[in-house]
Subunit: 261 residues, 2 copies
């Protein structure tokens, strides 16, 4: 089943959509956060008349498991340039995530100004990087849906630096659209796994992604870094570049540290 089908939504009534959380998109049983966010974003985009996400935020309040889901959507404003939409994704029992996004037409009006202060991350070509293959636990089954190739320096998880660099695509070769980018920004292992810190898992509280452009077909070049592990939290900053060398997404998530309690 394609990502497009696995994240599809259907309108049920005014402001209410249905979807199915599909198996295979999970990390030891819990659906990938970016995948869940893509489902909510598709419902919100439909309510926004087919506009595409420009900036989207999800707060994750419960783990998602395969099965039927519903999305309640509220259009806050339908403007000339942006439509701002809130949404809640729930399974039969409880809310899974709260979503807020602003959506724009695929082609924004041209701007006279472009200036880039940072180059795409330096990563050897995909064939010289290290693939992550799915297993029953870790790497998770989700790696059967997405294909990651890690920078050789990061692939042993012993770099000592909270950073992952690598390539992303969907296993089935499906083109990655604005919704697929929401999966891309949440698909890599937690940055702290590379830092040799005593941290087994970092659940995501909130993820915000800015979608700058719809990617050209091909591998996505990705960089995820963490600079501040403090106060019980850490951030993970992501950059995603397409095959044509454009920045297509920028992301930041706030994740939780294990507590000593």
């Amino acid at each position: 089943m394609s990502f497009a089908a696995a994240s599809a939504v259907t309108a049920e009534s005014a402001g209410r959509y249905k979807a199915d959380i599909e198996p295979g998109w999970d990390i030891v049983g819990n659906a990938n956060g970016g995948y869940l966010m893509a489902i909510a974003a598709r419902a919100a985009a439909m309510a926004a008349g087919g506009r595409l996400p420009a900036t989207a935020t999800a707060h994750f309040v419960a783990p998602g498991r395969p099965g039927p889901a519903s999305i309640d959507v509220q259009v806050h404003k339908a403007g000339r340039r942006f439509t701002t939409v809130g949404a809640t994704l729930a399974d039969d029992e409880r809310p899974l995530l709260a979503f807020l996004g602003s959506f724009a037409d695929a082609a924004l009006p041209a701007s006279s100004v472009t200036r880039i202060e940072a180059a795409p991350p330096d990563i050897p070509p995909p064939e010289e990087c290290v693939p992550i293959e799915p297993t029953e636990s870790f790497p998770p089954p989700f790696m059967g849906k997405v294909e990651l190739r890690l920078h050789p320096e990061d692939a042993s998880f012993t770099s000592g630096v909270p950073r992952f660099r690598g390539w992303f695509r969907l296993r089935n070769g499906e083109p990655i659209d604005s919704f697929g980018l929401l999966v891309a920004v949440d698909a890599f292992p937690p940055t702290v796994f590379a830092a040799q810190l005593p941290i087994a898992w970092t659940p995501t509280l909130e993820l915000t992604a800015h979608i700058r452009a719809v990617p050209e077909p091909g591998w996505l070049r990705c960089l995820f870094t963490t600079r501040f592990i403090s106060g019980g939290y850490l951030e993970e900053d992501g950059e995603v570049w397409d095959a044509s060398g454009r920045l297509v997404a920028q992301s930041r998530q706030l994740a939780l540290l294990p507590t000593t309690a």
Copy 2:
């Protein structure tokens, strides 16, 4: 009038709060975005039983002007560690912003891990920096409420680098709480004003702030940078450090470029 009073909310009915957008917190007539966000956050925090914002996002859909406002609040989940709340701030005529935040108790459970990859920004002491004083237009009247001292290298707006470094406090000496941090992350001039680009204004579409800690009293040390001006958008990344040398807030906003249309 203190910031606390200017951003105060009162409960009106279940899920509905009232506030006043006060004069003086504006930039040529439009209320500062961080100030409006603080009003919404106070209502959401009240609905969260007095918990404080850990991560908060606002999408700005219309400019706010002084006068009465209402905040409709929806608690998505009240959990053991976090309460996730959506809110809409509106004036008498229209919605001004949509808000989504997760709130936590003031003291999070201690974590065993702290690691900081970046030092606080290097800025000369406040008395060696350049104050910004309010005028009727630019600098805006809002600068009578907040006190900024810019890094001498950035103060002439001719550095050529889309970056501002400087100090922030409230003019009246009021301590800055979690809500005041929402003002701090949106108080500096747009980064592009320092880059000598042909851009007169960059309206904010969305602002997300992570609040890592409540600041110690004193000046806040701030850094705002932009790396990617592309696709009709730019991001502004902010870091705010308190007088004790702790990172207290991290922010990112997505702002709009002028169009050639």
